[in-house]
């Protein structure tokens, strides 16, 4: 069994399960039993039960679960207003308990979907709650946005109502679209079957979660992706620098500091490379450079967006593995000319170097960007919302919930419209003349 160290302690507690009750925390030494510092919340039991029967069952404590039976009926109002109210105390208590076990609580990760009822409604309720109860702690949200062919009819309502909450209460949001995950998985399938890759590719290994387990890609890519790999693996990469050593550490609070120039513009486009494992361990420079190029290509983004043709407000690169500052600089110099940066942030790069590579890879790169390419995603969302809202379709399901009024919808809509407008204004500056503001004059 391994040693419980600083790195593991970011995400897990080491619990002595021999004693009863809550289990005493062991701060150093051998791993006894790892428990994730997490709360699992769902208003129906199916998914949570699966987790508790799966390979990660020992990692989650039953005391960290909050479930109900009937679900939220894909209704944001049910999730947010009804269950929110009902479970508020329970959630706060469990949060406090989990927080107490932390030496230093730096941030909360919220992982949810926007289109449904629980993740969207109760999820954003919890977001509000976190701001009230723990105002100093950063709130990072990973949101799965519904695709155009989503089978939940009311997903536009749920998403837009949730967006307002994200606008107002999240520090950083990483949107992810299922369509992009599909495309990435398909691409990998194609590459494997067409034999395009010159080297041996280990089948069925995606970048996976921090526990280091590899999951097989099944015939139903939707399940495969939703359950593992992409989202969790990606979240793990994001925080890894906080856990491991490197020559230029990058922390979570630094991400928020560097990538959010204005409070409401906190939506980050993310991409992760490489997506597959290569047999080679010592990758020559050319491949390394390819990794950087890929991070900026449309194919590797986790939302349907093309950052290269939009405007960058800021960009962060976090590299793991045997990559040095000169590799990083060389690639920044190489890629910079093809990217458009906003006039007041022409050299807006945040970089981090972590010497520990992820399991199964020799290195990886996570690119996080604040880019106006999220605008189309937001605009599409607004369009889908309007198509329903204009006809007042399905509104009654929401309005008859206690606490819901027409104004909730109109406020959410205007919040989204305002956000889109802010991105429009920035886009308008793209390619325009650079007027440097005149400097302060000093009397000689």
């Amino acid at each position: 069994k391994g040693v419980y160290d600083e790195a593991l302690s970011s995400f897990f507690r080491n619990v002595d399960t021999r004693s009863g009750g809550d289990g005493r925390d062991i701060s150093k030494g051998k791993i006894c039993s790892l428990k994730a510092r997490a709360l699992l919340i769902d208003m129906e039991e199916g998914v949570v039960n699966e987790i508790l029967q799966g390979p990660l069952r020992d990692v989650f404590d039953s005391k960290q679960l909050i479930t109900d039976v009937s679900g939220s009926g894909n209704n944001w109002a049910v999730g947010h207003k009804v269950y929110g109210c009902q479970y508020r105390e329970n959630i706060v208590e469990k949060l406090r308990k989990t927080a107490e076990h932390c030496d230093c609580l730096q941030c909360f990760f919220i992982i949810h979907s926007m289109g449904g009822g629980t993740g969207s409604g109760l999820g954003t309720f919890v977001l509000n709650l976190l701001e009230d109860e723990f105002p100093e702690v950063y709130r990072f949200v990973t949101s799965v946005y519904p695709s155009g062919e989503d089978d939940v009819i009311t997903s536009p309502y749920n998403s837009v109502l949730a967006m307002k909450e994200l606008n107002d209460h999240a520090d950083c949001v990483l949107p992810i679209e299922n369509e992009s995950l599909f495309d990435i998985v398909n691409k990998i399938h194609q590459m494997i079957s067409s034999g395009k890759l010159g080297t041996i590719v280990k089948q069925n290994s995606l970048v996976t979660s921090s526990t280091g387990s590899t999951k097989t890609v099944q015939e139903k890519p939707f399940d495969a992706m939703n359950e593992q790999g992409k989202v969790t693996g990606f979240c793990a990469v994001k925080v890894v620098s906080a856990r491991f050593e490197g020559s230029l550490n990058m922390d979570l609070n630094e991400i928020s500091m560097n990538l959010v120039p204005f409070p409401r513009l906190h939506y980050l486009v993310s991409s992760l490379t490489p997506l597959y494992t290569l047999a080679d361990v010592n990758v020559p420079s050319r491949r390394l450079d390819q990794m950087f190029s890929d991070a900026f290509s449309r194919d590797h983004q986790l939302i349907q967006a093309d950052p290269k043709h939009s405007l960058y407000l800021a960009c962060a690169l976090l590299v793991r593995g045997n990559v040095q500052v000169s590799d990083l600089r060389r690639n920044i110099e190489r890629l910079k000319p093809s990217l458009h940066f906003v006039s007041w942030n022409q050299e807006g790069w945040k970089t981090g170097l972590c010497s520990v590579p992820p399991v199964g890879h020799s290195h990886s790169l996570l690119a996080l960007a604040n880019n106006t390419c999220v605008k189309p995603t937001l605009m599409e969302l607004k369009d889908r919302f309007m198509r329903l809202y204009k006809k007042k379709a399905h509104l009654h399901h929401y309005l008859h919930i206690d606490g819901m009024e027409q104004s909730c919808f109109s406020e959410a809509l205007s919040s989204l419209s305002d956000l889109i407008e802010e991105y429009n204004e920035l886009d308008a500056t793209k390619g325009g003349p650079r007027i440097e503001p005149s400097r302060l004059k000093i009397a000689v």
């Binding site: 600083e6 030496d103 230093c104 730096q106 050593e245 020559s247 230029l248 550490n249 922390d251 609070n253 630094e254 928020s256 500091m257 560097n258 990538l259 959010v260 120039p261 204005f262 409070p263 407000l313 800021a314 962060a316 040095q324 500052v325 000169s326 590799d327 600089r329 920044i332 110099e333 910079k336 006039s343 007041w344 942030n345 022409q346 050299e347 807006g348 790069w349 945040k350 970089t351 170097l353 440097e436 503001p437 400097r439 302060l440 004059k441 000093i442 000689v444």
Partner: protein, 453 residues
């Protein structure tokens, strides 16, 4: 007299560690040694300056390590201890868990006041270990949150607590194309605050050192460790024991005081640049020979033409001749080709340095008119070679060397400030727009002063 080093943030701690390594390895080196007596004298002076004795025998660095997150300090402590040649005092460090988030305001307004007592206690303890304290050498980067913000705060505290001691801030100028997006804000705030409490700022630019690694040291995949080692070598070449006066019988006792006296005649001018030659891969050293005239000639031209390294020096640049028209001497263009100096210090280490002729550095045309060349120029030397270089020459210069980088920095920061980007991240912790304006004003003043030399 002793120097207490305060290592601040990731950069400060990583560099500090390399500095002590370089100093130690130089002292234990076997190249270019002179007489036994000379070496012992060097060894003793170095020890007194940077290390204290421990009963166990391994010298203990006179240093305080500060960081707002634990990884770098724990790494630094353990690597030093493993070297077997020296170590840090196990108790002389302070760290927290959450970091400063690259936020100057967080470092300065939150962490600073919160941890002031603990940190100053550690400094006090180190200061008390010294028989006589020359002053403080702080190492920090300007780009991040801890080194920059907390560093500025700590410097202020040092000034308040030790009004009679010298404070030299070693400041790392980040890469131009970004390590941190808000680095220009952090830098502007740092420089303006340090200017008030520090005696001098000794600057190293990452871009410059990176080029040295690439072109002179032939390193293919340059790591921060490579960069830090070059920086440490250059610092060592300044701070190792030296004779500061002609015919002096013992090594100078007051390294920081001497430095300030020679280089900072006026509090408006505190920016010091550092050049050190030769610089080459270790395995080339055996095949190279150096001459003092050659080194001095190159160093002088590097000063005049503001060259950052020994390659690509512009030999066309000449100092203005006396009697030339007023117009050409005081050009209003900020991009003067000729680098005017206030004061310069040349340090020579290696055999036969007596034969070195520094007349060209005493040319009045190099300097402003306030000081005579006798006062404006100083020479320190020792026959004892430094760190495997049979002969090495360093230049510490208070001149227009840093004018262009400073101007660029302020320009970029101002550009961003005009759009108010990221300001909310600072006001969140108590640094308001007004504070930014004060800092900008202070630095424009410094730029203006250096421009009209």
């Amino acid at each position: 007299m002793s120097v207490v080093t305060v290592q601040l943030g990731q950069c400060g701690n990583q560099i500090g560690h390399e500095v002590f390594n370089a100093i130690c390895s130089d002292v234990h080196g076997t190249h270019g040694l002179c007489s036994k007596k000379e070496n012992e004298s060097y060894h003793d002076a170095c020890k007194e300056r940077f290390f204290s004795e421990e009963k166990a025998g391994v010298p203990v660095a006179r240093a305080v390590l500060v960081d707002m997150e634990p990884k770098v300090i724990s790494q630094t402590l353990s690597i030093a201890a493993r070297s077997g040649y020296w170590k840090y005092d196990d108790r002389s460090h302070f760290c927290q868990k959450q970091g400063s988030g690259n936020n100057w305001a967080n470092g300065y307004s939150v962490h600073g006041p919160k941890h002031k007592d603990v940190i100053m206690n550690l400094v006090q303890k180190e200061a008390e270990k010294c028989d006589r304290l020359s002053g403080f050498f702080t190492i920090m980067s300007m780009a991040g949150g801890t080194g920059s913000g907390l560093g500025a705060f700590v410097t202020q505290c040092l000034r308040d607590a030790f009004p009679a001691s010298f404070i030299l801030n070693h400041v790392i100028w980040p890469y131009g194309t970004g390590e941190v997006i808000v680095q220009n804000y952090n830098s502007v705030l740092t420089l303006s605050h340090l200017y008030q409490s520090s005696d001098a700022l000794l600057v190293h630019e990452n871009d410059v050192i990176h080029k040295i690694c690439a072109q002179l040291m032939n390193i293919k995949q340059i790591s921060f460790r490579d960069v830090n080692q070059v920086i440490a070598h250059q610092l060592g070449s300044v701070f190792q024991p030296i004779y500061t006066a002609e015919g002096a019988l013992h090594y100078s006792r007051s390294p920081l005081g001497d430095l300030m006296e020679t280089l900072v005649p006026h509090p408006e001018f505190k920016m010091l640049g550092l050049r050190n030659i030769p610089q080459m891969p270790e395995n080339s050293l055996a095949y190279s020979t150096f001459s003092w005239p050659g080194l001095i000639k190159h160093l002088r031209q590097m000063l005049i033409a503001n060259a950052t390294m020994e390659e690509g020096i512009d030999w066309q640049v000449r100092p203005p001749r006396p009697g030339s028209s007023v117009l050409s001497k005081h050009s209003t263009s900020k991009l003067l080709h000729f680098n005017a100096s206030i004061a310069n210090l040349v340090i020579l280490r290696g055999k036969d340095m007596h034969s070195a002729d520094l007349g060209s550095f005493r040319d009045p045309a190099l300097y402003t008119s306030w000081l005579t060349p006798q006062d404006a120029f100083n020479l320190w030397k020792t026959p004892r070679a430094f760190n495997k270089y049979e002969k090495s020459a360093s230049l510490v210069s208070n001149s227009q060397l840093l004018l262009k980088p400073l101007d660029n920095l302020v320009g970029k920061a101002w550009n961003m400030f005009a759009s108010k980007a990221y300001i909310h991240q600072y006001t969140k912790f108590g640094i308001e727009e007004e504070d930014f304006l004060d800092s900008f004003t202070a630095l424009e003043q410094v730029i203006s002063s250096y421009t009209i030399l």
